[in-house]
């Protein structure tokens, strides 16, 4: 009963109170900020599934986001698909690429896995940048059709806001179901000790592939939403720095926490916008917020595990220089 009330309150907030507030403060621009936050909240939730809950440090999330964006943009332009087709298609293609990445890399552990995902992210970015015949390269794709909802003006900021909010609600629902359940326990057991999970009868490789498929699906959905709401995408939107931004969101919000992922997206997208009045100094403030949150909140705002702990386990021996024997 209490859980139902919380869900109802959140839906009211996102679909009624927040748009009302945004309209009241001036609409337009603020709706666009909220839309960006929504897209990144989807990305942070999906990255959190891999990194926060399952404990696999992935540095290539922006690549799958990019695959989703280009799939939607190209399908909408070439075949005139509507958004209700392009969004699931973008998710499916990104999930497929996620599985293709997962198959050869799943046996890598810790830092080796992180480096492999980093490489894959870069491969995707460079492909988008250089395959000019297919992706139009650095010029990007412009005039991507809008999202048109019945009863609202097509492509208006309000339409975009509601479309992203709906996608965010569905993403949150699915990921909540996956993580707040016994399946979620299986994922957390992989994060804690995957050999032990294997000894308890869990098919670790299969679970990792499943997690990548789900997570990349939602990254692809976020990409499609980005393409349709901004009408223009270019490879620069899907660089390594975006992967790091997404990672920063889930670290600040707290690894393994869904509300944390959303709060991280709100902070790291919202803060630079709110601080626009102080010009370029605002990025220093954002950096300080991230630095201080790691320093004083090792588990992020709401995390299950500490980021340092995860990094220490992922980076393994490389971290333990203090234990070195011999030369001095």
């Amino acid at each position: 009963m209490k859980a139902r009330l919380i869900v109802l309150a959140m839906l009211l907030l996102v679909f009624a109170a927040l748009p009302g507030l945004l309209y009241w403060v001036g609409g337009g621009y603020w709706f666009r900020v909220a839309t960006t936050i929504g897209v990144f909240a989807i990305l942070a939730l999906s990255a959190n599934l891999i990194t926060g809950t399952t404990g696999l440090l992935s540095l290539g999330h922006a690549g799958f986001y990019g695959i989703g964006a280009y799939t939607a943009a190209l399908a909408a332009q070439a075949w005139h698909w509507q958004f209700y087709l392009t969004i699931p298609a973008a998710g499916a293609v990104a999930a497929l690429f996620g599985i293709l990445l997962a198959l050869p890399t799943m046996r890598l552990v810790g830092i080796y896995f992180a480096v492999a995902t980093l490489g894959v992210g870069e491969i995707i970015h460079l492909t988008l940048l250089n395959w000019v015949g297919f992706t139009r390269g650095p010029m990007g794709i412009s005039a991507i059709p809008n999202i048109a909802l019945p009863g609202l003006i097509a492509g208006g900021d309000v339409t975009n806001y509601f479309a992203v909010a709906a996608a965010l609600a569905i993403t949150a629902f699915v990921i909540h179901r996956l993580t707040n359940s016994y399946y979620g326990n299986a994922l957390r057991s992989l994060r804690e000790d995957d050999q032990c999970a294997e000894a308890m009868g869990l098919d670790v490789v299969r679970i990792k592939i499943e997690v990548f498929a789900f997570s990349c699906f939602f990254a692809g959905v976020a990409g499609a939403l980005w393409a349709h709401t901004t009408n223009y995408i270019s490879p620069g939107d899907f660089r390594f720095s975006e992967s790091i931004l997404i990672l920063a969101m889930i670290v600040v919000g707290g690894l393994g926490s869904m509300p944390g992922a959303v709060i991280g997206a709100v902070l790291l997208i919202g803060l630079p916008e709110v601080l626009r009045v102080i010009g370029d100094y605002r990025m220093i403030v954002v950096g300080m917020v991230m630095f201080l949150s790691i320093l004083f909140l090792p588990r992020g705002i709401l995390g299950e595990i500490s980021a340092i702990g995860l990094a220490r386990r992922q980076l393994g021996a490389a971290w333990k220089s203090a234990q070195q024997v011999g030369w001095r």
């Binding site: 996956l178 979620g184 326990n185 000790d193 000894a199 308890m200 670790v204 499943e210």
Partner: protein, 253 residues
């Protein structure tokens, strides 16, 4: 009595080192068997061969008539072999209950669709198995605690609970009494005896000779990767080969 586990000339080489050398032996259903031997004799490696943590270099392992060679460890676990680890491997950042539920998940199955579609029957089955295992090990009161907050002795029981939730027919314990005091060891021996009384087959490695000799019906002794003795505790403790392995020969001494 039929053999539940049959090991036929299983060997494992690591480069030039032969960790397990043509080990043969069998364990009957319902038996309590101890595996002893000096440090480095290959006991843990043998456990890893049985549970497919490491593949055998030669030979075979059969469980309940099924060949285990070439299977993945999670498949072996699902066939009914559950193990605990020499250095405790509990999952510290999740609760005691969630730790145990991992074993139950292994036996019931872990498709994401069960969670996505909210299949009640499956999650209820997992809860039921987990609570049963917690009750069996006396951890019900600590179910909601983070596993990291349990005392050392309780963690041992948590590992056993997790293994029991897998509903095994063979339970493999790697040094269960290590680090426990005499009272705790006696309590553990009583507990293992109870489990065995309920029909569970138990195979354990242990350095505490009193524990092994009083608890096990049969003892296998390993030295330098080979099985050098196999018999009742009384037989084994008077075997000259065993005495030699533990105490050395006269010349060496």
């Amino acid at each position: 009595m039929t053999a539940l586990l049959e090991i036929d000339r299983a060997s494992r080489r690591f480069g030039g080192l032969v960790a397990v050398d043509e080990f043969s032996g069998s364990i009957a259903r319902g038996e309590r068997v101890g595996l002893i031997g000096p440090n480095g004799a290959g006991k843990t490696t043998l456990f890893n061969l049985i549970t497919s943590f490491t593949p055998v270099s030669a030979g075979s392992v059969r469980f309940d008539g099924k060949l285990l060679t070439g299977r993945k460890s999670h498949e072996v676990a699902r066939l009914g072999i559950a193990r605990t680890f020499q250095n405790l491997r509990i999952l510290p950042n999740i609760t005691v209950f969630d730790n145990v539920s991992i074993g139950a998940l292994g036996s019931v199955g872990h498709s994401p669709w069960n969670s996505l579609l909210g299949r009640r029957a499956i999650s209820e089955r997992i809860s039921e198995l987990s609570w049963k295992a917690l009750e069996r090990t006396g951890l019900t009161g600590q179910a909601g605690l983070l596993a990291a907050n349990l005392s050392y002795g309780r963690r041992k029981y948590l590992e056993i609970a997790r293994a029991l939730a897998l509903q095994p027919s063979l339970l493999i314990l790697d040094e269960p009494a290590a680090g426990l005091n005499d009272t705790e060891t006696a309590e553990l021996a009583r507990f293992v005896r109870e489990l065995s009384g309920e029909g569970l087959t138990v195979l354990l490695v242990e350095h505490d000779m009193g524990f092994v000799m009083s608890l096990c019906e049969r003892v296998m002794v390993m030295a330098s990767g080979r099985k050098i003795a196999d018999g009742t505790p009384a037989e084994v403790s008077h075997d000259p080969l065993v005495l030699e392995a533990y105490l050395g020969t006269e010349e060496e001494a």
